[in-house]
Amino acid sequence: MNPDMNLDPTGDDAIDPYSPELGSIATENGDKENVTKTGTTTVGLATEEGVVIATDRRASLGGRFVSNKNVVKVDQIHPTAAMTLVGSVGGAQSFIRTLRSEASLYETRRDEPMSINALATLAGNFARGGPFFAIHPILGGVDEEGSHVYTIDPAGGVMEDDYAVTGSGMQLAYGTLEGEYNPELSTEEARELATRAVQAASERDTGSGNGLVIAEITDEGVEIEEFDDLAEAL
């Protein structure tokens, strides 16, 4: 125990800002060749009413073999926030589980949910301090200040924007969004635009496809819907 960092006589109360309070993060020293990747196109749009997130459903090995056709790549991590799985599936899943339990612990202790900025900061710290190298999620959420869309990059970079895309189909999806997004979009319009962006990527990116998942986040909560056919979502 370093007495300068810690007052606990049992030596276990020092909090490292860059790692989870609960458990530790497993390192990823396995067979990197055969790691399942999401490939993926995940889109987040902020509107005045909330945040719309759309993702495809494909998991692949290096973008050349489809290893799963119905992955739900967006998950609730907080009463009014959701995160997408992008990159190594194992890394992204444990990242999401870790953030969900940290957010829950924070809320239980303080009797108020984390702000989305705090959640994004914590996610960035974990990405920076932990071994989740191969992830690039979008965090969408609503708090007292309004709607937020953040990207968290593998080195811990945290950037907020009105709309964002991550994953192997990002250039195609961004092409659809540029010039079409505006902050006054209704939820319906945002759903349509996000769907078209994922659709464009699914047509041309080998790492994206097999349907669509849409998450709608408002101050009431998170709703996630799955679609086999993109046309159903429109």
Partner: protein, 245 residues
């Protein structure tokens, strides 16, 4: 003889309950707090006031070196009563914890979570072999989401929230004064007045402005109130004591 030896065992061992369920070392730590000079806290509409009596045992001691109120972060301060050295360890713990919160969440530490982090640490020292309880009570005051909050920590590691409180020597008299005179909706200025009246309550001789350490915390941050302002407040209330009289 046997009985006497057992009594000594639970008297000395901090982690040992007495047969009637008491932890004597924790109770002795509370006594240590009573031996310290008083500190008070008052919560007002706009912020909190922390004030402490810093008695000097000699005229040659530099008063500023007797620190009883401490800034923790831009929005939180702590006043202490009891063993100064024990208080300092907890003050430094609180300062680090407040910064860890900013690093981890990019937001200021709440007053309630900070108080609970401190009391959890204090509690560790009542249940760990070889440790000694902290002989200090703290008053933790600050702003949380725009609201003034005021807490007490005691040597057992229990947190309490207050509108106005005193810890340390003369606690009963001061607390009774606050109970009779505290009202909701005080301005920060009125809170400073009430804190000084409380601090002066146990002693008929009034207060020497030099012997009062006073900080306020409001939306603008932590402010150490100067001797001249304290003197004005004391003079207005006819509580001015000190060396000249």
């Amino acid at each position: 003889m046997q009985g006497n030896q057992q009594q000594q065992a639970y008297d000395r061992g901090i982690t040992i309950f007495s047969p009637d369920g008491r932890l004597y070392q924790v109770e002795y730590a509370r006594e240590a707090v009573k031996r310290g000079s008083a500190s008070v806290g008052v919560r007002t509409e706009d912020g909190v006031v922390l004030a402490a009596d810093r008695q000097a045992r000699s005229d040659l001691i530099e008063r500023d070196s007797i620190e009883k109120t401490h800034k923790i972060d831009d929005h939180i301060a702590i006043a202490s009563a009891g063993h100064v050295a024990d208080a300092r360890k907890l003050i430094d713990f609180a300062r680090r914890r407040a910064q860890v919160n900013r690093l981890r969440y990019d937001e200021p530490m709440g007053v309630e979570p900070l108080t609970k982090a401190i009391t959890d640490t204090i509690q560790d020292y009542t249940q760990t072999g070889g440790a000694r309880p902290f002989g200090v009570s703290l008053i933790v005051g600050g702003m949380e989401n725009g609201e003034p909050r005021l807490f007490e920590t005691d040597p057992s590691g229990t947190p309490y929230e207050w509108s106005a409180l005193a810890v340390g020597g003369g606690r009963e008299d001061i607390q009774e004064y606050f109970e009779d005179n505290y009202e909701e909706g005080l301005t920060l200025e009125q809170g400073v007045g009430l804190a000084l009246e409380g601090l002066a309550e146990p002693d008929d001789d009034g207060l020497d402005p030099d012997g009062v350490d006073l900080q306020t915390v409001d939306e603008d941050g932590v402010l150490t109130v100067g001797q001249d302002v304290i003197e004005e407040h004391l003079d207005e209330r006819d509580l001015l004591g000190g060396d000249d009289e």
